[in-house]
Symmetry: D2
Subunit: 350 residues, 4 copies
C-alpha cells in the first residue's frame, strides 16, 4: 500500500498517519519527493481491509499494491485450475462446451435440444428453472419441476447440468439436482448468495456483472473461495456500453486479462454478450482464440416460441456448425473439447 500525501500536508498530519499505521501493527516507510511525500506500508496489508485511509487528514491518494483478492490470485496458485463438473474437465487445455435453452420449458423440448447439442459436441447442458426476468410479468421458470426435467434429460444424454440459483433459500434444493451452479450477472455482487454457494463444494459458474471490472469479478470469486469452495469458473458475458446495436459489449480481452491475474478458468458467453444470433458464432470463435476455457451458447429448436430470451438462441443446426469450427480451432490452439460422460442408457426409456 502506498499513501501519497497532499502537497500541503503538515508534519503533524504525517505523524498522525504514521501513528495510525503503526497502531495496526504495520511499519510505515517515509519517502520525501520534491513535491510530495509518499508513505509505504510494510507488513500484512490485509489488516487494512476497510480502513478508510483516504479519510485521514493530509492523505491525497491511497494506492494498493497487492490485489485485494488472494485465493483467486495467480500468486496463490500459479498453475491454471482445472474444475471438474460431473466428469467434464474445464481449464488447463480442457474446453467446456455449455449449451442449451435459456429456460427449461418442457421435457420434450429439453430432450430434443439435449440430444442435438450432445451430438454436435456439447459436454454440459444448461437450462434455467428459476429465471431472473427484468419484468415481473414475464415467465419466471418452472422451478423444481424444471430442475427435475433438467436432471433427467442430462442423465439420459450424458451431459452434466448447469442451472442458475438466485435465492439463498433455494441453494439446497438446486444443489440436489445440478452439477454446477450458475450465478447470474445481476447477482455477481449478491454477497449472501455467493456465501451460500461457497459453503457447498459444487462447481460454480460465476458470470461477470454488467458493470464489473475483471478485478471486481475476482473479488466475487474470492467470496466463494474464502468459504472453502475452490470450484469456481468465471464467465465473460458482456458489459454495458453506449452501442446498443449489441445487447452488451463483449469484452474478449477479459479472457487473457483474467489469465494474467488468476488461476481460475474463464468461459465466454457470446449469446448474452451480444444478444444476436448472427454475431454469436464470430464471437464464440473470438473467445476461444483469445484463450477461453469454455464456450457457453444458448440453443433452442424454435427460438420464436422460447419462453425466455429466444431471440438470442442459435438453432441446433447452427450450433452444430459452430461446434465443429470450435473443435478445429481448439486443435490449432493445442487444446481439446472435453469429452462428455457416457449417457445413462438405462434411463433412456423415460
Amino acid at each position: 500500500m502506498l499513501i501519497i500525501l497532499k502537497s500541503e500536508a503538515t508534519q503533524q498530519q504525517i505523524d498522525h498517519l504514521i501513528e495510525r499505521i503503526e497502531g495496526l501493527g504495520l511499519k510505515a516507510h517515509l519517502s520525501q519527493g520534491t513535491y510530495r511525500t509518499v508513505v509505504g506500508i510494510i507488513g500484512d496489508e490485509s489488516q487494512l481491509a476497510g480502513t478508510p485511509l483516504e479519510a485521514i487528514p493530509g492523505v491525497a491518494q491511497v494506492i494498493p499494491v497487492l490485489p485485494a483478492y488472494k485465493l483467486a490470485s495467480l500468486e496463490a496458485h500459479p498453475q491454471p485450475s482445472v474444475v471438474n463438473v460431473g466428469g467434464v474437465k474445464i481449464g488447463g487445455g480442457h474446453v467446456g462446451m455449455i449449451a442449451g435453452p435459456c429456460a427449461v420449458e418442457s421435457y420434450e423440448r429439453m430432450d430434443a435440444i439435449a440430444g442435438a447439442v450432445r451430438q454436435a459436441g456439447a459436454n454440459l447442458l444448461r437450462g434455467g428453472a428459476f429465471k431472473p426476468r427484468t419484468s415481473p410479468y414475464a415467465f419466471q421458470g418452472l422451478e423444481e419441476e424444471g430442475l427435475k426435467i433438467l436432471r433427467e434429460v442430462g442423465d439420459k444424454h450424458g451431459l452434466p447440468v448447469v442451472t442458475e440459483v438466485m435465492d439463498p433459500r433455494r441453494v439446497d434444493l438446486v444443489h440436489e439436482y445440478t452439477d454446477m451452479f450458475q450465478i447470474g450477472a445481476r447477482n455477481m455482487q449478491n454477497f449472501v448468495l455467493l456465501t451460500a454457494v461457497g459453503e457447498t463444494r459444487k462447481p460454480v459458474l460465476l458470470k461477470r456483472g454488467m458493470s464489473a471490472t475483471v478485478k471486481d469479478l475476482l473479488m466475487s470469486a474470492e467470496y466463494i473461495l474464502a468459504r472453502g469452495n475452490p470450484n469456481v469458473v468465471l464467465c465473460e458475458r458482456g458489459v454495458k456500453s453506449f452501442d446498443t446495436d449489441t445487447r452488451n459489449l463483449f469484452d474478449v480481452a477479459a479472457v487473457p486479462l483474467a489469465h494474467t491475474l488468476s488461476h481460475l478458468p474463464i468461459f465466454v458467453d457470446p449469446s448474452h454478450a451480444t444478444g444476436r444470433p448472427d454475431l454469436v458464432p464470430a464471437c464464440a470463435l473470438a473467445g476461444l482464440a483469445a484463450g477461453a476455457d469454455g464456450v457457453h451458447i444458448e440453443v433452442h429448436d424454435c427460438p420464436e416460441k422460447a419462453l425466455s430470451d429466444g431471440s438470442q438462441a442459435l438453432l441446433p443446426s447452427q450450433y452444430a456448425e459452430l461446434a465443429s469450427q470450435l473443435r478445429e480451432l481448439a486443435k490449432l490452439l493445442g487444446k481439446q473439447l472435453s469429452p462428455a460422460p457416457q449417457p445413462a442408457r438405462a434411463k433412456s426409456g423415460t
Copy 2:
C-alpha cells in the same frame, strides 16, 4: 408495439407473423412503406411480455410503444406519490433528508451522529447493520445488534430509520426494526429480494444499479409495486463511467427524467455517487435544484475511524452547513424539508 420487417421479408413470413400475433388474441395492422413493411400491434401488449418477437423469421426490429412498467408509470398515477416514512413525508414538495453513517458501529457513535444530524435538519437516520462489502475480508456489519442500536437511537432522537436488507431470509428481522428498507445498488435486480420486500407494506428506498437505466430502475420498482407495496422511493446514486476521479458518475438528469416517467419520489445520494466529500455539497445542491424529493448523505464524526466507506462521509459540521443551504434552496423552489417527528423523550435516558 411496432414490428419492422426486414426488407427481404417474404409474404409467407408476414403471414406467419400475423398469425402468431392473432393467435395471442391481438390485432395486427400492416403498413407498407416504400422500403419496409411495419406491423403495428393493437390490443393489450402485456400479453407479449417475454414473447421473443425478434426471433420470428423476417422481423428486423421490435419497438415497444408503451412502457413495460405499468404501476410505476405516470399514466397509472398522474399525481406525484407521497410516501410516508414513520411520519416523514417524501414527495410532492416534501423533501426527505436521510443522514447517518455508512454502518452502525456502536451505540455511542450512533447517538452522537444522530443528535448532530437531527439538529442540522435531517429527518431520517440511516446506518447499515448488514453491509454489502466487495471484499469478504472487510467488516460486514453488526447484524441484529446493529438493528437494535439504530432503532433505539432513532427513537431517542425522533428520527425514523432506514437500513439495508440484503438477504430475503432477513426481511422479517429487518422489518421488525426499521421504518424503511434500503435495497442497495448491487441488489437492484435481485428479484427475489424485491419480491420479498414487495410483500411487506414498509417503505423501500430502491437504489439505482450502477449500470441500470432509469427505465430499468422503474422495472425493479414494478416488482415491488406488483406485490402490493406502493411505498417505493427511488434513489440516484451514480452510474459506472470511464472517469475514475469520481467513484461513479452522478446522473443528475435521472431526477427530472424519472419525474417525466413515474409518480414515484426520487432521492439523490451524492455520497455514493461521487465518493468524495469535497464534491458532495455541490452535488447535493444540484440534485435538489434538479427536483429531487430528498437527499441522502453519509455523515460520520470521525471518518478516518469509520468501519465502512469513511472516506466519503461528511463531518457533522459540514453536514450542518450543507443542510442549511439545502433548506434555503428548497424554499426558493417552493418546497420544504419535512419536519421530523417528536423525539421519544421517555427513552432518552437509555
Copy 3:
C-alpha cells in the same frame, strides 16, 4: 512519479531502471516493501512526458503524482480566472448566459431570437456558421454569411458572440467576426485546431469530449494555454452512456471537480447534455447549483423548423422563465449574472 516494480523484478532490472532515470537528470529513491519495491522519482517530472517507463523490464505500474497539465492547474494559478468576452465577465462569481440557436439560419430569425434572449437575461449570443454534422447530407451552415449575420445581430442587441470553429484554415476568418471561439466536443482532441486558437488571444469555449475525463479536458485546455492564450472557458456538455433516454449523460459533478483541479471557469450546456428540452431547465439549475460559471442553452423560436438540432431547443418563453429562476438561484449562491454590454443602437436600423 512513483514506479512500482513487479514482485519478480531482478536486481539487474532495478539497476537498469535507476540508470535510465538518472540518465534523464532525475534522482531515484528506492523503497523496499515486504512484497514490492517502489521507486520514487525526485526532480522535474516534466522531462518524462512521453517516456514509456512501463516498457522498462521489471516495471509493474507507473503512478503520476503531479498533474500532466500545469498552466491549467490550480497550483499554477490558485485564484479562479475571470475571462472577459467582449465585456462580459465569466468566472469568479460572474455568471455567463450563452443563448441562441444551434445554427445561424437567417438575419430575421437571429434578430428575433437575440432580442428575446437578451431581454430574458442572456449576455452572450451563440449561433453556428460552420456545423459539425454527423451526416454529410445534413445542413452544414451558412459559413461566412452566417458569421456576418451573427456579428451584426450581436452588435445590434449588445450581445458578444460565440461561434464554433472546426477548421484550422478558418481560424483567421472566424477570428474576424467572433468574440469567442467554440471548440466542439468532437474536436476536443483536435490538437491542430487547439494549437491554432491557442495562437490567438480570443476567448475559447472548450467543450468536453464525449468520452473525455475532466483531466483530459484540462490537457486539451493546456494545449491552448501553452500557446499563450489564457482565455479558456471549459464546458461540460454530457458524456456517452448506456442510458439512451437522454442523448448524453450530464456529468454535473464535473463542475466542482474542475474547480478542485483548475482555475479555469466552467460552463454547463444542458441542451447538448440531455438533448431534451423537457429536462433542460432542471439540469441548468442543477449546473448552476453545482457551481457552474455559466449556462449555455439553445433557444429557437420555431424548433420544428430549425435547420440543426431543433429538437433540443427551448422556446424563447421557456428560456425567459428559466433565466429568471437562474437569476434567483445565482443570488442565493452569492453570484450574479454578468450584465451584457450596451446595444449598438446606431446599427439597429439595419
Copy 4:
C-alpha cells in the same frame, strides 16, 4: 421513418404533422393503435436529414428505418469491398497485416523494424510523422522528415506505408508520401479532415472513435465515400470503458457487426485497444477469428526507448510468433495473408 405520437396528441397536431411531411414531397401513412397513433413516412427519407421531427408538437419518438449512411451500407454494395493499398489487397478473404512503430523516430530504427516485420509476414508498414499527443509537452513527430524516412524504408522493404494525417492543411503533403492515410480515433468526427481525404482517391484507414458506435463509424466513412473516395478501411481500436486495467475496451463484436451493415473491410488494432503487450496476441487472434480483414500491431525493437506509446508495442520476435499464429488461423478460416509487393532492391543501398 416511423413517427410515434404522444398519447395526448390532438387531431390538430396530427394534421399539422401530416402537412409538414407532405410539404416535403413525402407521403404520410396513419396507423391508429389502441394507445398510440403511428405515422409512417413513405418516399425518399433522405429529404428529412436534419429536419427536427421530434420538435413537432405531439411527436413522442422518431424511429429511422433506413440507415443514415447509404454508400457505406451493404444495400448499396452487397459484396465485400476489396481495397488495394499499393498492391496489397484488403477485404474479401485477403488479410492485411499492418505493423510498425507508433512514431517514425529515425531511419535506422525504422529500417530495422521494417526488415523484421516484413520477414515475419507483415504486408504494410506503419509509422507516425505527425502524432496526436494528449500532452502538448510530448514528442509531436518528425513531420516531413518522418514521412520521407517512412517512404524510403517502405520502398526498400516492399511494404506500402500507412501514416496518420491530422491537419487538413497537410493532406497534400502526406498524400505525396503515403500509400494509405490513417485517420485517428480522435479525428473520427473531424469532418473537415474526412472531407479533405475524401477528395483524394488514396485509401484511408478510418479508426473508430472512443465513444463512437459502429453506425457512427459508418457515418464517418460516408463522409469520405460521399466525396468520391471509395477506398475506406474501418478499424476497431477499442472504446472507453470503466475497466481501466486495459486502456480501452476491445469491441471484437464490432467486426461481425460491421460486416452485417457494410461492405467495407475492417481491421482490428489490439495494440491501441488494450494498451498492453501481454494481451495483444490473444486479442489479435480473437479479432481475426471474428472475421477481421486485417490486423494492426505496433512493433518496436526497444519499447522502453520509443518516443511514443512504447509501452504497448510488441518486440519483433513477439510479432513474428504472433504473425505465424495468425497465418495458421487465417488458413483455418479459408483466408490468406495478402502477399507484400517486391522490395525495391535498387534502393536498398540507401
